[in-house]
Symmetry: C2
Subunit: 240 residues, 2 copies
Amino acid sequence: MSDTSHRRERLRERTLTEIKDLARAQLVAGGPAAISLRAIAREMGMTAAALYRYVPALDALVIELCTDLHNEVRIACEAARDADGDPDPVRRLLVMARELRRWALAHRPEATLMFGPPLPGVEQFHQQCDDLQCAGAQLGQIFVQPMLELWQAGRLPDIGHVDLDRLAGALPAHGELPIEVTAVFLTSWTRLYGILAAELFGQLTWAATDTQPLFEAELAFFAAQVHPTPTAAAASVRNS
Amino acid sequence: MSDTSHRRERLRERTLTEIKDLARAQLVAGGPAAISLRAIAREMGMTAAALYRYVPALDALVIELCTDLHNEVRIACEAARDADGDPDPVRRLLVMARELRRWALAHRPEATLMFGPPLPGVEQFHQQCDDLQCAGAQLGQIFVQPMLELWQAGRLPDIGHVDLDRLAGALPAHGELPIEVTAVFLTSWTRLYGILAAELFGQLTWAATDTQPLFEAELAFFAAQVHPTPTAAAASVRNS
DNA sequence: CGCGAAAGTAAACACCGTTCACTCAAATGA
DNA sequence: TCATTTGAGTGAACGGTGTTTACTTTCGCG
């Protein structure tokens, strides 16, 4: 009973992955706005209405795709980190950040969907705060974790001029992180995000065409700010 | 002859501003994707086809709206700067940056349109590099200018770890700026942009709900990096 | 084999951008 | 002043979108 039922489910899941694959293909081909249920159905030789057996609405499909992408880039960063092998937190951060940028520029439409503004109304926005940002938070966590290690080792950079009291009042409930780690993470993350998003969205095409020097400079700046451990780990600033 | 013709032109221009006003109202109400020619025409008691006497296409209308918004925020920043009156370049930069953030958060849909990814295809993207980024560049220029003054006064912050050679190879032709100024500008601009865009796009709702401490920290950090002039101007770090 | 649930279809509704042929009024020139 | 040209606006159509509803078909399970 469950055997054939499983076959059913597998078929269903296969159809759903086909839907998501086609959605991604459309995303790659024409950007986030080009994702269309009718076009997916057309390509699958089906009616658009049939897709509603698998997806409650277009928004949900886009959100799910967005979640998958967050996981994909997180796994890519983790893989790059593990492939490098260096246990030094700073080195791990640099490797992951570079992989994040590499992935984003190699998958611009996907990155635009992930890091750009949420598409339609406000519902999806809140959804992003709960469901998707779960994946988004997981992506952030792999950067938070090495910073936490740095903090535990007393190597965390000084939080420049951040008003910790006010920042502490603006944190979500689930934050069990030391406020210093949060401050350093947010500062570094938004700096990298700014360079990446600005390039992705063509915000500074009038000022520069290659943001790699800026990105590397932020990485080097961060690394230089980390308090050196007496033993080694000062040579990890070097590029890969 | 030209008298009546002028009246005609005024009427035409009045209609065009009405179109753009309604487009902006839709933008405010429902985000960039909610801008619709048919809805504008409906609200004006006209046919959608009639709008094509005033606007070549929806994309062009959005681009023009975007240009207007860039000018509007630039003028707002200039006004804040002039209202403050302090001639110190650092002080002017801080005032303008704060006004930029205040405006963006007070006009989130408009800011999303301006600072988010370009909506449809790639054509608009290039248009943004030429026509719109003309307005975008002007917005950037009011921040470049005080930095240029700082450079002339020998007070420009040290460009952290930016690879100036590589950066110099990635600049558009129209750049007659000293490379150090460009480097400092791009670094500071992308840092502020990152905080602003991240908040606008809900990218770190899982990590923080108020980015004001981060923004102020970046400003303070920049101000602290400026080489002090022998006379005064070190007290201008204070908030307004 | 027959039943029932799941999958898929067809049609409709309400939108959207855009184009084309057409009307109508107003400004222009002789 | 009168005919003409120009511009604004209309109506209909084409092709596209998301979504819902009622209906049909298919297929696994008892």
